[in-house]
Structure formats: C-alpha cells, structure tokens
Amino acid sequence: MLDLLQRTLEGLLEAGPYALIGLGLTISFGVLRRINLAFGATALLAAYVGSWLHVRWGVPPLGVWVAVIVITVMVGFYVEWMCFDIADDSVMAMRRQSSVALGLDAREASVLAASFALWMQIEQVAVNFQPNHLHPFPDLSSKLNFDWGGIDLRPDRILVFLLTSGLIAGLSIWLKHSQLGLGIRALSSSQAAAQVCGLNVLRLRYIGTAVSCVLCGLASCAVLSMDGQVTPMFGMWVLLKGLTCALLGGLGSVRGVLGGAVLLGITEAHAQSLWGPIGRDAATWGLLLLALVVQTRPLKHPFFMQRRFE
C-alpha cells in the first residue's frame, strides 16, 4: 500500500516538469495552431549550448538558464520564419484556421513536412556541436529527500510542481484579462476575423511564438537541472511528453495541461513499476491514443471545464 502511494506521489510530482513542457506546446500547437515538429529539437540545441557554456566556460547556473532561454527563442524564430511565415499567407490556411477542428490542407501538410526537416537539421547541428552522448548540465537537484511517514519525496520536484502551478495560473489570468491575451485569443479563434478587427496579426503571432519559446526554454532548464545532464534523446522526450499533456488536457487549454500532466505522470509511474520501460512508453502512447480517440473534448472536471485559453 505504501509502495502504491509512493509511486502515485512520484507520478504526481513528475507532472510539474511535464506540465511546464506542455504549456509551451499548448501555446504553439493549440493557440497559435503551429504544427511545429521542431519544438523538441529547438530545446535540445539550446540545452547543448547551455551545457557547453557550463562545462567549457564555467558559466554559473543563472547565466546558463538565461542563455538557454535566449537560444530557444532565437532558434524558435528561425523555425517560425522558415516554416510558418508562408503558411499564413494562404486563404486556405486562414479558412482552415478559423474552423473548430484543427484540419490540415495541403499547405499545412507541407508546413508539417518542413518543420520535420528542420527538426532533423537542428538535431544534427546539436549532435555535431557536442558529439558525446552525455553532457553535464548545472545540477540543482536536492541531495536530501523529505521522509514523510516512510514516503520519500524530492523537494526540487515539489518546488517545480508548485512553480508550474503558479505559472499556469499567471498565464491563464494574463490570457484572460490582458489586452495582449485577448488579441492572442482572437488570433487563435480566427486569424481572418482578427485581421478584419484591426489587430496586428504579425505582432501577435511573434509575441505568441516568443512566449511559447520562453516557456520551452524554462521547462528545459527546470527538467535538466533536476537531472544534471542532457542526452540526444531530450528533444524527442520534450515533444512527446509535452504533446501528450497538451492533448490530454485539451489542446489550447492552459489549465488543462496540468490535469493532463498529472494523469500522464501517475500512469507512467505505475506502468514503469508494473511492466518496465517498454510498458511505460506503451502507456504514454496508449494514453495519447485514448485521448485522441475518446477526446476531442477536454477533461470533464469543473477545474478544466472552461473555455479554451484560460
């Protein structure tokens, strides 16, 4: 019984980093309607540069965090320019973006393929830049665990969970009550209508991209600082976990991401203990599939029962 509780709590705390990653993805995929497959590779390249700065030049953790966030934004804008600048020019894309379902037309399919090509490119740049498998990252993980009635809990994970919850609340309020948030919500609902209303669509899109990239960079730093290392698998991990959380919570729902992350974290923790690493991966994909087949509607708890972007 104690084991079950221990695993459940570990899964719950794992939801902190998952939700942080899912937050950036839900802004990119759900709000901006960007099918950006290069999202994880962007995080990987920035993390590799951070690791290099730390190891080679002895840059302190705060400097590494700032550098990772700045590079994530820079690479994110490179992907934005290469893949998405053209996609918004087409009337077809505007028509599709105004629809409720996230439909794909030929133009959007080519954007998806282009973002995949950039995924390969950015990942290869990262691997060529730092060819080894393991790279140290400033380790901020706690060395002492909380012992609470026989249950071990890591303070760093508790801190990340609380920070993520705060960030989600802040982002939700910003999107709901600020002028800029209103603009981004309008852009997400219908780009054509936003343009007709006199909103600066290009500026809003760039702000949304910057927010998504900053969140991605922040999430990378938080996750890697707890592990103290980065490997080439990090890019795929970011994309997969983030997307699963975002989809489980209802793509575009900022609060829903936390619910999705909790569900994913707890499921993975139990699957890992029951069936090992393959079982854990299968549980992640199975959950994603289930969310897609059953879903098209977000979690039904009153906390998540709200309109999108809140």
Binding site: F29, I35, L37, M82, C83, I86, A101, L102, G103, L104, D105, A106, R107, E108, A109, S110, V111, L112, A113, A114, S115, F116, A117, L118, W119, M120, Q121, I122, E123, Q124, V125, N128, M236, L243, L247, L251, I278, D281, A282, W285, G286, L288, L289, L292, V293, T296
Partner: protein, 314 residues
C-alpha cells in the same frame, strides 16, 4: 551515412532500397490523397516485415507466399485502424497514427518466439534485438538482380492499379474527398468508406515495402520502423508532389540522390538536407510535381503532338 532505412547498400541494392522507400512514400501519398496526413505508415512496414519473415523463416514458406501474407495482414490491420480513427481529422489523425505505429513498434519489441533452424542456429523474433537470419534469398539463390526485378514489378503493379482506379468514378470520388471532404459529403459521396478503402490499400502497400526490406536486409529490428521512417515517407510524398503517384518516387530519389551526392559533407548531410527541404517547401508547397507542373507537362506533350496530327491531314 545511412538513409531512412538505416542501411546503405551500394550497387543494385541501392535501387531496391529506392523502390522500398518509394513504396513507403506511395503508402503515405495514398493517405494524403484522402485529405489526411499519416505519420504512422511505418506500422504497416513493421507488420509486413515481421509477417513475411515468419512465413519464410518459421514456416519455410516461399517468398511469394510471404509477400501475400504480409500484404493481407497489412490490409486487415489497416482496415481496422482506419475504422477506429474514422472520426479523427487533421492533427488528431496524424498523431493517432503515430501513436499506433509506436505501440506496434513497442509490441514487436517485446515479442519473442525462438525456435531452432535446421542448420542448428536459433531463429525468430527476439524482442528488441529484432528478427535476424532472414536468409530466404541466399538459401534459394535469388540474386540481387532478380530481387530488384521482383521489387520493381510490385511497384509498377501498385502504380498501374492506382492509375487505373484514378480513371474510374471511384478514383474521382476519392480525389473529391481529398480536395474537400465536406463538399464531397454534400454531393453524396460515402466519405468515410472512401477514406477507409484508400487507407486500407495504403496499409497493404506499406506492408509490402516492409516484407521486401526484411528479405533484402536479412534482418528487421524495431528501431528501423521508428517515427523517422514515417516522417521521411511524408517528406517523400510532399517533396515529390501530391498531384501524381510518381511524386513519392521522385521524393525518394531526391533524398537518396542527395544522400549520395552529399557524401563529402559527412556528418553535415542532415543539416544541408533539412535546410534544403524546408526552403524547397517554402518555395513550392505542393512539391515538385504539383498540379500546375503536371498541367504544364501535359500541355507540353499536347503541343508537341499537334503538328504531327496536322501533318497527317496535310
């Protein structure tokens, strides 16, 4: 330096690989034809490869029987998946296919069924180590040239079948679903049925590609049919163009050709290839053989034929 199939085989094997990748591209292209993007056609590739290998290695069946079984299992699995994902569209459909492909890969990664071959060594699926010793071609003295011819026959048959169907009302109905499924539905087309039918056929093509690969490479491991293969297949269809089934063939040739040409950039190939593909799609989103290009090619040939027709009556 490896291609999407993780092997680089010089000589005749290179052309066989091109055919296998072209079949994968064609499989993805067929799904794109129905207005959907599948990131999981590699699932059928894996299923086809394992099914064919089981027939020739575990049951000593012939290669033709193995190809038939692989195709049949691919078709059945594809029909089931297509029905399951019928209500999904756009990004949801793309991600659901990817999730299924990964589940298939993980399932085959944990499948173990070992038995002793007549020559004393162990054969059969071995979990994450894959399925090795698929030696039907060597044991039956089938040379690379014959195998290339067989592969080419399969590709040409698939292309011929697609071309014949495209000339019929069924072909036009499928195309109308791809252009605008809502409009097609209003016009009375059975949209879901047409999508299922096309995706079922696409699954069969992907399974054949896997079966051919397993026998050429003599092994198959789950890492071969990971997400990269599926996304490469989408890349081939998008690069080559959506207007004709020859598009994926061109896309695969483009990738393999560039791979060969870029040998001097060892280690930086993906950097150059990725950038070129992204820039190319920015410049020409419909791919090389898009509808405009196809129309220009047709116009060119019609223009050339006209003087001959006139001279006949002169």
């Amino acid at each position: 330096m490896n291609n999407a199939l993780c092997i680089t085989d010089p000589g005749i094997g290179f052309y066989t690989q091109w055919i296998i990748l072209a079949l994968m591209g064609l499989s993805t292209w067929l799904v794109l034809l129905t207005g959907r993007v599948s990131l999981g056609q590699q699932a059928y590739f894996g299923i086809g490869a394992y099914a064919a290998a089981v027939v020739t290695v575990m049951f000593n069946g012939s290669l033709i029987l193995a190809l038939l079984v692989a195709w049949l299992i691919g078709v059945i699995f594809s029909a089931i998946i297509s029905r399951l994902l019928q209500k999904l569209n756009g990004l949801q459909f793309a991600l659901a296919t990817l999730a299924i492909a990964e589940l298939v890969r993980l399932g085959l990664s944990s499948w173990t069924w070992r038995s002793t071959h007549a020559k004393g060594y162990e054969v059969g699926p071995d979990g994450v180590h894959g399925f090795r010793e698929i030696r039907w071609l060597f044991e039956n003295q089938m040379g690379p040239e014959t195998y290339l011819s067989l592969s080419a026959c399969i590709l040409l048959s698939a292309l011929f079948l697609i071309w014949k169907i495209s000339q019929t009302k069924l072909g036009l109905s499928i195309q109308s679903v791809g252009f605008d499924s809502e409009l097609a539905s209003v016009q009375g087309e059975p949209v879901a049925g047409l999508q299922t039918l096309t995706q079922t056929f696409a699954g069969g093509v992907g399974a054949l590609a896997g079966a051919l690969y397993a026998h050429q490479a003599t092994y198959i491991e789950p890492a071969v049919f990971d997400v990269m293969l599926g996304i490469h297949a989408v890349g081939y269809a998008m690069l080559g163009g959506l207007a004709t089934p020859l598009g994926p063939l061109l896309g695969a040739a483009f990738d393999l050709g560039l791979l060969e040409a870029a040998r001097i950039f060892e280690g930086w190939r993906m950097v150059i290839f990725g950038g070129l593909v992204a820039l190319f799609l920015r410049w020409r989103p419909g791919g090389l053989l898009n509808h405009a290009a196809l129309s220009q090619i047709k116009h060119f040939f019609i223009q050339r034929r006209k003087p001959d027709e006139h001279s006949k009556f002169a």
